[in-house]
Symmetry: C2
Subunit: 179 residues, 2 copies
Amino acid sequence: MFERTLKKKRIYKGRIVGLREDTVRLSNKVISRREIVEHPGAVAIVAVTKDKKMVLISQFRKPAERTLLEIPAGLVHKGERAIDGARRELMEEAGYKAGRIREIFRGYSSPGYSTEVIRFYLAGNLEKVEQNCDSDEIIYVREYPIKKCLKMLRAGKIRDNKTAIGILLVNLTPSPSPW
Amino acid sequence: MFERTLKKKRIYKGRIVGLREDTVRLSNKVISRREIVEHPGAVAIVAVTKDKKMVLISQFRKPAERTLLEIPAGLVHKGERAIDGARRELMEEAGYKAGRIREIFRGYSSPGYSTEVIRFYLAGNLEKVEQNCDSDEIIYVREYPIKKCLKMLRAGKIRDNKTAIGILLVNLTPSPSPW
């Protein structure tokens, strides 16, 4: 299975996303158009405190026009290793330094139209540091027991897919230590 | 928490996605720009056969430039109820008619830049019908035991976030019947 690119038409290059239209030929010879959002890739951090609480953040999301409860996440900077981006985002957004951190999953957020891959990290041995958001981010940190997060997920209080994955993966991990 | 829209700049209106730049004022008075991909919303179907296998599909995804293993999913048509879109996509992409179907979760796929919400449906009492894809879709249907899906997820053979949610939710549901 493969789609050969016949033409790429650049529509937009923004600060975060780009957009192009690809004309492709499928293996059944059909010619089609694909609208593709170009995204640099993201990291998301499943941070668990010593007393088994998950670190969540609450922030207004313009595309959703609402405040969402999410795991900390962000873009990887140019030249930065993804794992270092995860450490940085956890410090900036949630005010925690991770003593231990490891990748537990990676996946496309919406492979029908976006190139975005999110890498998920499990972070532990947390140490409080100062929160340090960008000027255009207003973020409140919340901590909830892992079981409470699962309850909130079932009750529709969590409306973000990466956060659902984070909560479900932590609940899957055999207790007591995920390391 | 709220971001007031000062200006909306339309960049693109495609067949599936749109793109605009919003200029916003945060509650801390900071003015910022948000790049927003407009998406009509999607449905994803966690379909489980009588012998406890999950129905997955394999298809080439241009934004990823690779073939991915995913749960059936698609856009809701204009004027169509989301649950009917889910029934339709399951028939078209996987060749199964759902005797029972219910929503189990909904969430934003990438709320930092996209308006896309995915609604997840659990489908059961499946009846084989003819697969009926669009001409620009080449899709192979695969069925794996639920436990095997979880194994594939842990082994990095699943690289799609909605599919991760589907697998993890099914594994969470108390046996034997999710109804």
